[in-house]
């Protein structure tokens, strides 16, 4: 998924286990301490959730939040590190039984599952929820169900086209999916938000965006869009059916629309109910203030799990020349780019396309330079070979956001010695992704990011670099790279039935793509957050862009 969506939601919630060991070691102090049951957990946030409808929302922030109110067939684990991204059963009894060579997948529902209304959750409700993904207005979230499950070409969701004939529900507990082609990792796909059950016949239009129908441990009791959201316990949820969610607090209270600087001040002060609060990543200017021993105990940090990169549009001259793209890769000073977002505490320097949280990722640096400060001489040599010793002018698209503009200026500076004049084209935040995703409107380069939908190269490399996925609108292959070698390799890996072997192959594909230099990997951004002094059970979840796992966090002393 696009990192921009995440970035806005990451403000809402993000975090981790400050000291590598402290996170979940159960110390008596610090955010990793054991959480008690009960109390109201406060969340201070800048941006509100994009959608409450699970078929619409799709970013690290809402994905984390959805686990509080919705359940899916499988879900990610609830633990720090790699255990958190492991797929475990949720509504289903297992992670699915493939047949027909991985083309047909069968799931069985657990007993004792109910909606907040008291109605039992049946396979027909799961099917109804999934088929909503085909509705052109509703299915704007996770695209995987639509991409993988076989469906009539004209199918437009259950409200317009009726029931989807290709998902079978032989009985109330069993659901069978038929895929377009074999897919080894379908067990991970059914953890996507689109696999949330919705009571059959309900949820048309915007109904779920204002009043979700909960299947998880909490339900929405009060929602003022853009201002506040309150969750209270869903008493129809049975802990015995759920191995993932601890659901510690009795209630969650979100406050949206707060200024990031205000949030930082409140979290540092930690007065009143702010002691029970969590918030998003702190601002760069706050980093220097959280260095005291007292505050350090309340900070958590870790990787966000996304890659921030600059796409180089290979259809434009002279970026169609691989040597020019390689020269830019060599010349960019990643140190200054990192300082622009807040220095080493808020980002690591990226060398490969896939971030470190992805399984099978290879750590390598195809365009090395001392301290990542850029190899201008090497770049000049490549440019001379390509016939651009005198430089050229290119336009870099960036969002109207201080951090993104600062990164653009850093790149502009780094390319100046090569006589490459970078014109910065600032685009309004609201339309940015629409503009750069429209092939006729995008310029030579653009700064953006990508987060894996689950920690596999399958959700990272094919969406960004499969040349056959280039579309005139909503295009995510910013480089417009259409390389036969890369395309063939993507097909080859898709045929692998062993998920581990496939992940390893994606690590190698990463190298093959970077040799063509369609993008400049810039940063793996980190999260650094302060939590209230009464917060316990908090750890960074790798699967949710480094947010505090909401299903495990709670208050140390619920009576306070």
């Amino acid at each position: 998924m696009l990192v921009g969506l995440v970035a806005s939601a990451a403000l809402a919630l993000t975090a981790c286990g400050g000291n590598a060991s402290g996170g979940a070691s159960g110390e008596s102090a610090g955010p990793g301490a054991k959480a008690a049951q009960g109390g109201t957990l406060q969340v201070l946030a800048n941006a509100a959730f994009s959608h409450l409808d699970p078929a619409r929302g799709f970013d690290g922030g809402v994905n984390n939040f959805y686990r509080l109110i919705y359940r899916t067939l499988t879900t990610q684990g609830a633990a720090p590190g790699a255990d958190g991204t492991k797929i475990v059963p949720d509504l289903a009894t297992d992670t699915g039984k493939p047949s027909d060579g991985g083309k047909t997948w069968t799931f069985t529902l657990k007993d004792g599952l109910f909606f907040e209304t008291g109605a039992p959750i049946t396979s027909a409700d799961v099917k109804w929820g999934v088929s909503r993904a085909w509705d052109p207005e509703i299915g704007i979230g996770s695209p995987y169900a639509k991409q993988l499950i076989d469906a009539p070409a004209s199918y437009q969701g259950p409200y317009k086209s009726g029931e989807l004939p290709t998902i079978l529900t032989p009985d109330a507990k069993t659901i069978v999916f038929h895929l377009k082609k074999p897919y080894a990792d379908f067990g991970s796909v059914v953890a996507q938000n689109t696999f949330t059950p919705v009571p059959k016949g309900q949820g048309a239009g915007n109904a779920l965006d204002s009043k979700p129908i909960a299947s998880g441990p909490y339900k929405v009791s009060e929602y003022k869009p853009g201002a506040a959201l309150k969750l209270v316990r869903n008493d129809k949820w049975d802990k015995k059916t759920d191995d993932v969610r601890q659901a510690n607090p009795d209630a969650f209270q979100w406050t949206f629309g707060l200024d990031p600087a205000t949030i930082d001040e409140r979290m540092i002060a930690g007065q009143g109910t702010d002691a029970d609060a969590i918030a998003g990543t702190i601002q760069a200017a706050t980093v220097a203030r959280v260095q005291t021993a007292q505050l350090k105990q309340r900070t958590m940090s870790g990787l966000g799990g996304c890659t921030t990169y600059m796409g180089l549009n290979s259809t434009k001259k002279p970026l169609d020349n691989v040597k020019v793209r390689q020269a830019i890769n060599l010349a960019v000073n990643k140190q200054t780019v990192r300082d622009a977002v807040g220095g080493s505490t808020l980002a690591d320097i990226a060398t490969s396309i896939q971030p470190p949280t992805i399984a099978g990722r290879v750590d390598y640096d195809p365009y090395p330079s001392p301290d990542h400060k850029g190899d201008v001489d090497g770049a000049r040599k490549l440019l001379t070979e390509a016939g651009f010793a005198d430089g050229f002018t290119m336009t870099l698209d960036t969002r109207a956001q201080p951090k993104m503009q600062a990164m653009a200026v850093a790149i502009q500076q780094a390319l100046e010695p090569l006589k490459i004049t970078v014109k910065i084209n600032t685009i309004d935040t609201a339309t940015y992704y629409e503009v750069i995703g429209t092939t006729s409107q995008q310029h030579d380069a653009a700064i953006t990011g990508w987060c894996p939908d689950w920690p596999s190269g399958a959700t990272f490399l094919p969406p960004l670099f499969d040349g056959r996925n280039i579309t005139p609108k909503g295009n995510s292959n910013l480089a417009q790279l259409n390389d036969p070698g890369v395309n063939a390799k993507i097909d080859e890996i898709a045929k692998l039935t062993d998920v581990q072997a496939a992940n390893k192959a994606y690590g190698e594909l990463d190298k093959q793509i970077m040799a063509l230099a369609p993008v400049v990997p810039l940063l793996y951004e980190k999260v650094l957050m302060i939590v209230g002094s009464n917060i316990g059970g908090a750890y960074l979840h790798d699967g949710f862009s480094g947010g505090i796992d909401l299903v495990s966090v709670g208050l140390k002393d619920a009576g306070k």
Binding site: A285, T286, V287, A288, G343, A406
Partner: protein, 315 residues
């Protein structure tokens, strides 16, 4: 500012024998006044900085866009090394957090933006205000009706909100030109209203009637008789308008709709310094001080000139 009222009284107490409204007289009187002289000297420095910016940064050694990673602490979010925001021998005013750009160079180049935009806007509003104000005041009738209603409309309009809206919806393009046009579009009625009123009074004076009686054409009356007598008002109004436009430009840049980065601008520097106020107060203090002193100097000077001209006219 606080010194001005006292000075005014002193001037009024001492009746002047000098010729009315002469530029030379105004200048001599200003240079004799310590406060006004200090303002003049400061403004001269700012203008000199703006004009000789490339030369000055060559001497100081750092360009306005040049990064200095060594001057900031990457581990602490990019806070400048050293006390007072990294003030040192090589960075005279310290550096900007997160990228290490030299604040001195950015102040110098920021002066360019402020001065160019405010002077251009003043020139444009001056021309628009004088021409339209005189047309309305001289011809009266429907011309006056149209221009006056337009002025009323523009002055009643929530200008700042409209400026923000229009600047954020326009494509990036040439930002400084856009700023000048938008600021001028809302700025001219203030001058035009005064000019209109004065023109109306002047048009009924005996010397104008005498000129008409001796067969002067409209254009001759306007340019030979009325315009020279408006000179004082125009000088005062425009001098007092410049600090206003500097403030507007800084304000719009502060709100993120002014000149686009990486161009240095004082307003933008203040805007990006807001989040750093507690960690690096100098980043806020330096551009803030320059903006404050520039606006103050121009206001004091404008006030002073008004007093002198008023006296000249009274004499």
């Amino acid at each position: 500012m606080t010194a001005t009222p006292a000075l005014v009284e002193v001037e009024e107490a001492a009746p002047s024998s000098a010729p009315p409204t002469s530029g030379k007289r105004v200048l001599t009187r200003i240079t004799r006044d310590k406060g006004a002289l200090a303002c003049l000297v400061f403004l001269a420095i700012v203008v000199l900085m703006a004009v000789a910016a490339p030369l000055i940064t060559k001497i100081s050694g750092w360009g306005p866009y040049q990064f200095d990673s060594a001057a900031i602490n990457s581990d602490l979010g990019g806070v400048p090394h050293g006390a007072l925001g990294g003030i040192s021998g090589s960075h005279w005013f310290g550096v900007e957090p997160q990228n290490g750009r030299d604040l001195f160079a950015r102040i110098v180049y920021g002066a360019r933006v402020s001065i160019t935009i405010s002077l251009s806007a003043t020139l444009l509003t001056g021309i628009l205000g004088v021409v339209l104000g005189m047309l309305a005041g001289f011809y009266r009738g429907w011309v006056d009706q149209v221009i006056s209603r337009l002025m009323d409309f523009l002055m009643a309009f929530p200008a700042l909100i409209f400026m923000i809206a229009i600047l954020s919806s326009l494509p990036s393009g040439n930002r400084p030109v856009l700023l000048v046009v938008v600021i001028s579009a809302f700025g001219w009625p203030y001058l035009a209203r005064v000019i209109r009123g004065q023109t109306m009074t002047l048009a009924n004076r005996e010397f104008v009637e005498a000129a008409r009686a001796s067969g002067a054409k409209d254009s001759q009356v306007v340019f030979r008789e009325i315009l020279p007598n408006l000179r004082g008002s125009i000088v005062v109004m425009t001098t007092l308008a410049i600090p206003g436009y500097i403030g507007t430009e800084a304000g719009l840049s502060f709100l993120g709709v002014g000149v686009s980065p990486p161009t240095a601008s004082w307003g933008q520097m203040i805007s990006s310094s807001v989040s750093w106020y507690s960690v690096d107060p100098m980043f806020f203090a330096i551009p803030g001080l320059f903006l404050f002193l520039t606006v103050l100097s121009l206001t004091v000077l404008g006030d002073k000139i008004r007093t002198l001209i008023d006296q000249g006219e009274a004499a």
